[in-house]
């Protein structure tokens, strides 16, 4: 199961140009399997497609970042939305410092993320602001894509450091389940590219970024063919839309509603 997902995603572009309809995705799974039934459940509930992200261990961070930025496209007041996100990032500075990160070590990564956010309000040299197509291109560019992912890894690490008293009981080695100290968890399980995110990382990042995230678990485990949604609510704004992710064993993609 795990292998089949990795095989089909590890060779792909970092971010797919086109959406994959759930009806196509279901062909990856055995007929009549729980997986297929779970995907059918999602379709019945208004979800239509996923944007596939490469299965390289960074898929949670990359999917999250893409969806976080994609939401800017539909913002009625883009200028304001851009300013709000930029000030959120600036607000991390003291905490990053307390968590032991010199500005020199993360400035390049932060700038790449900021440039991407700003581009939604400021026209580039050709007079265009960021749209879905150009956002996909940013995420297909290895260096830009990795810079954004790595910046989010540092924010995640910063948040774990800040909340270490609460987080410590949940930090463990994903293979052996041995407990890990916050310091070694941050070094080994967050600050290294290609290391997958588990629940502590997901909670820490969404918490820091003050966004709501919903993860649809198409995990083949349920007996009732329904999909379990894990919702993490952090946004202060009641009307805030959630970042929607689809989880299949070992992998995250961006989940979309509406027409494929």
């Amino acid at each position: 199961m795990l292998n089949s997902i990795n095989d089909t995603t590890s060779q792909r572009a970092l971010m797919a140009s086109e959406l994959t309809p759930l009806s196509v995705l279901r062909e990856d799974f055995d007929r009549e399997s729980v997986f297929q039934k779970q995907l059918d459940f999602l379709q019945k509930n208004g979800f239509s497609s996923v944007r596939r992200v490469r299965g390289d261990g960074d898929c949670f961070y990359r999917s999250f970042a893409f969806s976080f930025l994609e939401q800017l496209i539909d913002e009625p007041d883009r200028e304001f939305a851009v300013m709000r996100r930029l000030s959120l990032l600036d607000g991390f500075e003291p905490s990053l410092k307390s968590a032991g990160f010199d500005k020199d070590t993360y400035q390049d990564f932060k700038e790449e993320f900021e440039e991407c956010i700003k581009a939604f309000a400021q026209p580039d040299h050709t007079g265009r602001v960021m749209n879905l197509q150009s956002l996909v291109q940013v995420f297909q560019d290895e260096m830009k894509s990795h810079a954004i992912v790595f910046y989010l890894r540092l924010i995640t690490s910063m948040k774990i450091y800040e909340d270490q008293e609460n987080m410590a009981p949940f930090l463990m080695n994903p293979e052996t389940f041995d407990p890990m100290s916050p310091t070694s968890f941050r070094r080994r399980q967050i600050e290294v590219m290609g290391v997958e995110a588990d629940e502590p990382q997901i909670i820490a990042l969404t918490n820091a970024m003050k966004v709501n995230v919903e993860v649809a678990y198409v995990d083949g485990h349920t007996t009732s063919d329904i999909v379990k949604f894990v919702r993490i609510h952090n946004a202060q704004d009641e009307n805030s839309r959630s970042i929607m992710l689809l989880y299949r064993p070992g992998h995250y993609d961006v989940l979309n509603r509406g027409k494929p």
Binding site: D7, R12, T105, D141, E142, M143, R188, E191
Partner: protein, 179 residues
């Protein structure tokens, strides 16, 4: 572009045109980062470590020098290393080797390869040339005996007098050329 096939289709390499563009940009932002690291290294005064690009105009190949830490068996000895940066540095670790013969439990006597976790699977883009050089410097005095590349050296580590004798037999002082 990627047509998003099902698992039945064989995996294909990424399309050509964006890849070519990407690698050029990649080299550009990596060059900037390496330029900044070079500046930081030159401005900071970390005793006993230094590194510079091997040739003018190529930031991707460096040579460095590491002096053994004081109060260790390596005190007073200097070693030359080479550093090769991949085009997607800092997301992938640089390749580092001892160019001087270095008698040490974690250095392969045949080719100078180094066994140090932050240069392999524990590499993180928060590290820099400076942190690598400092880690290598402390590795000299504090080897990891559990995973040796040089079993002889690992075996002698706990008998300092014999170790020092072997160390000096293998040591070749650096000539005074750069860096």
């Amino acid at each position: 572009m990627d047509q998003l096939t099902t698992s039945l289709a064989p995996s294909r390499p990424s399309p050509k045109s964006p890849v070519a563009g990407t690698s050029q940009q990649a080299a550009g932002s990596t060059s900037n980062r390496l330029g900044n690291e070079l500046m930081t290294l030159m401005m900071s005064s970390s005793p006993g470590i230094s590194a510079f690009p091997k040739h003018d105009g190529n930031l991707f190949e460096w040579v460095g020098t590491i002096e053994g830490p004081a109060e260790t068996v390596y005190a007073g000895l200097s070693y030359r290393i080479s550093i090769a940066f991949p085009p997607n540095y800092p997301y992938v670790a640089p390749t580092i080797k001892f160019e001087s013969l270095c008698y040490h439990p974690n250095v392969d006597p045949a080719n100078g390869a180094i066994c140090l976790d932050i240069l392999q699977d524990k590499w993180s883009a928060v590290y820099s040339v400076q942190t690598i050089l400092l880690s290598l410097q402390s590795l000299l005095g504090e080897p990891n005996i559990a995973s040796p590349l040089n079993a002889d050296a690992a075996g002698l580590w706990n008998t300092p007098e014999e170790y020092k004798e072997q160390l000096m037999q293998h040591y070749r002082p650096l000539k005074d050329d750069s860096p």
